[in-house]
């Protein structure tokens, strides 16, 4: 019986980790939906927002002020990206825009560390961090922190989904995503829309940064972890906000299970084939998400909830 509880604990911790991936993925989806740009820099924006936030906190500012100022910085960042980069790349092939965002990511990474240094900053904004023990004999451990993070992620997604569906700006965003020129011709200000959506993505990045940062400390590695949001995104479908969440849950749970149950099995296979004992194959987590996404795409190129891709010559 305790094995079952252990399985459940692994599964749950995976699901919680998944919601944290989806928080990052959400930022990607927002920008992709509204501008068709696949923003590689989202992970770095998470790092940058978290570094600014923690930097202000360490100067002794109250949490609310630090958060507001950081949001202001992210809006300024959104504006300058639109002004200096995107505006000049209208109507370019998507892949060119993608590579430009890789450049943006490198720039921002250097910039963030140039200003704030590359030390690890601990972050505590008062999210409870105790554990609950569930089950008849308390076999299963649930971190309150994980639960809180999941709730925040859920709330954010709901709000954004409603925003996209029912507000004027949300509709304008969807129009821009469908066709730049058509949107321009019905009078939607393209540049303004881009600033808005990059700002919202910056805000999402801040939330993700605070949550990831309070868990792991605010550090350079955050931008690598944020890369995991890419397979999440692919699995869920680029254009779907709920897809980001479901994709995150699948990836999160899948990689935890693969790490705990899959790795020993692979290790056994390898040692059987090579005749060497005691091989330890930890770190399946590092690649599992990408490989899963790759195989998934072979069968469903548009992802779980993505719109069907129709191509015309």
């Amino acid at each position: 019986m305790s094995e079952f509880w252990f399985f459940l604990e692994v599964l749950l911790s995976g699901l919680f980790a998944g919601t944290m991936y989806s928080l990052v993925a959400l930022g990607f989806v927002l920008i992709f939906k509204a501008s068709g740009v696949f923003n590689f820099a989202q992970g770095t924006m998470v790092l940058f927002a978290a570094l600014c936030f923690v930097g202000f906190l360490e100067m002794g500012w109250p949490v609310a002020v630090a958060a507001i100022v950081t949001v202001g910085i992210m809006v300024a960042w959104a504006y300058s990206v639109e002004r200096l980069v995107l505006r000049h790349l209208v109507n370019q092939a998507p892949i060119i825009l993608f590579m430009a965002t890789i450049g943006i990511a490198f720039f921002l990474e250097g910039f963030a560390e140039f200003i704030w240094g590359s030390d690890v900053h601990p972050l505590n904004v008062g999210i409870p961090n105790d554990a609950w023990f569930v089950g008849p004999e308390g076999e299963m451990m649930i971190q309150q922190f994980d639960l809180a993070a999941a709730i925040i992620a859920g709330l954010l997604v709901t709000v954004l989904a409603l925003f996209f569906h029912y507000t004027r700006i949300g509709r304008a965003l969807r129009a821009v995503a469908d066709d730049h020129q058509a949107a321009l011709s019905v009078g939607i200000p393209l540049n303004q829309i881009w600033v808005i959506v990059w700002s919202v993505a910056g805000f999402v990045a801040l939330v993700a940064g605070i949550i990831w940062g309070s868990r792991l400390g605010v550090q350079f590695a955050l931008s690598i972890i944020a890369l995991k949001a890419l397979p999440v995104l692919i699995l869920g479908g680029f254009t779907s906000v709920p897809g980001a969440i479901v994709g995150g849950l699948i990836i999160g749970a899948g990689e935890k299970l693969a790490e705990i149950y899959g790795a020993p099995a692979i290790a056994e296979l390898v040692s059987y084939m090579s005749g060497i004992n005691n091989i330890s194959l930890g770190g399946v987590e590092e690649w599992f998400a990408y490989v899963l996404a790759m195989f998934f795409l072979l069968f469903r190129p548009q992802g779980l909830f993505g719109e069907r891709i129709i191509e015309r010559v």
Partner: protein, 358 residues
């Protein structure tokens, strides 16, 4: 005045389709190669040969490989480092298990192993494209590096996990390992670079290169005129991975002298992508220019700081480096999407009229 096409008449199709149609171009390239073989080893000291020329040439090979895939066939890959690692590890495995094998063959075989792995990871490209594909190449990057790191078979169960490259010689002269002289290693690497560059130059202007470019420009239209996407895309993946594999093997055998996965991490993949973008997408020359530029930029930055004695910490320099890389990428994509190669072309066009412009 000195450089012009006027007065050069071609009397046969062979002349019209030559690799270098203008005699001056041909002379220039031959001159550069001869200078690289004779002059560079004579005038360079150990530092320049061992720490700059060798890695730049090796990275040029990798950039050539990625340029074939991304610049000519239009498939963006973020897994270059992994294919380099595949070449390095397989070459090490072959070199240590078949000790009689001549080292050039070992490195080519390493490249072929990388090509077959690249073929496998290129399969998704038939179903998915663009940045979806870019993300799946990340699977290659993370999975392969993990595999090489964790499975001791690849390093012959060496205790440290980081074996040194075995010393091997060509014509009685050591060319790999730490004991080899920089000159010997340099010439060995240069030979590979020249041969592979000539092959690449011929590939991209031949039938196969034209099908790559057709797929890049619009794959559905290319399919409609009878180009088979399966053959075209997979051949691009295989050949590109072959180049990357050879470059990875050379990197391990002739430059860092150890076989380790940290040399081929995702940062390396990005660096090579940058070389291709800055040098020029879809240009053989651009791969070389990009490799030189991206590799020398941090060194130049460092030198500027030390010569002027600026009070900047080394850490800060590396941050500035990141910013410079990022800024350059965006700058080139906006201002000159065809990169340094295009600038070179413009310079040549100007030179054609100089000193008597209309």
């Amino acid at each position: 005045m000195f450089y012009r096409e006027a007065g050069i008449f071609k009397t046969s199709y062979a002349a019209d389709q030559a690799l270098f149609r203008i005699p001056l171009d041909r002379l220039f390239v031959i001159g550069v190669v001869v200078a690289a073989i004779v002059v560079v080893p004579l005038i360079s000291n150990e530092y320049w040969l061992g720490s700059i020329m060798i890695p730049v040439l090796i990275l040029s090979i990798a950039a050539l490989g990625l340029n074939i895939l991304t610049g000519y066939c239009g498939q963006v890959s973020l897994g270059t480092g992994a294919f380099m690692a595949a070449g390095a590890y397989m070459a090490y495995k072959i070199a240590t298990n078949f000790t009689w094998m001549p080292i050039p063959l070992v490195i080519v075989l390493g490249g072929l192993c990388a090509a077959s792995i690249g073929l496998a990871f290129g399969l998704p490209s038939l179903r998915i494209k663009g940045f979806y594909l870019a993300v799946t190449t990340l699977a290659a990057q993370f999975f392969l590096l993990w595999l090489f790191q964790k499975v001791p078979w690849f390093v012959n169960n060496s205790a440290s996990g980081v074996p040194t490259a075995p010393p091997r010689s060509v014509f009685g002269e050591l060319v790999t390992g730490a004991e080899a002289t920089p000159e010997a290693r340099y010439l060995f690497v240069l030979a590979f670079t020249v041969v592979l560059a000539v092959i690449a130059g011929n590939l991209v202007r031949g039938r196969i290169g034209r099908t790559w470019m057709a797929i890049r420009d619009m794959d559905i239209a290319a399919e409609l005129i009878g180009i088979r996407p399966l053959h075209t895309k997979l051949s691009a993946f295989a050949i590109s991975s072959f180049y990357c594999g050879v470059s990875g093997a050379l990197w391990s055998f002739c430059y860092i002298n150890t076989v380790e996965s940290s040399a081929f991490d995702i940062f390396r993949s990005f660096m090579i992508l940058f070389m291709v973008i800055v040098g020029g997408l879809g240009s053989v020359l651009g791969s070389f220019l990009g490799a030189f530029f991206i590799f020398l930029l941090p060194i130049a930055l460092n030198n500027v700081v030390t010569t002027f004695g600026l009070p900047i910490a080394t850490e800060t320099i590396s941050h500035i480096e990141f910013m410079a890389f990022g800024g350059l990428i965006v700058f080139f994509l906006i201002v000159e999407p065809h990169g340094l190669a295009r600038l070179w072309q413009i310079a040549k066009e100007k030179l054609r009229l100089w000193p008597f412009p209309y």
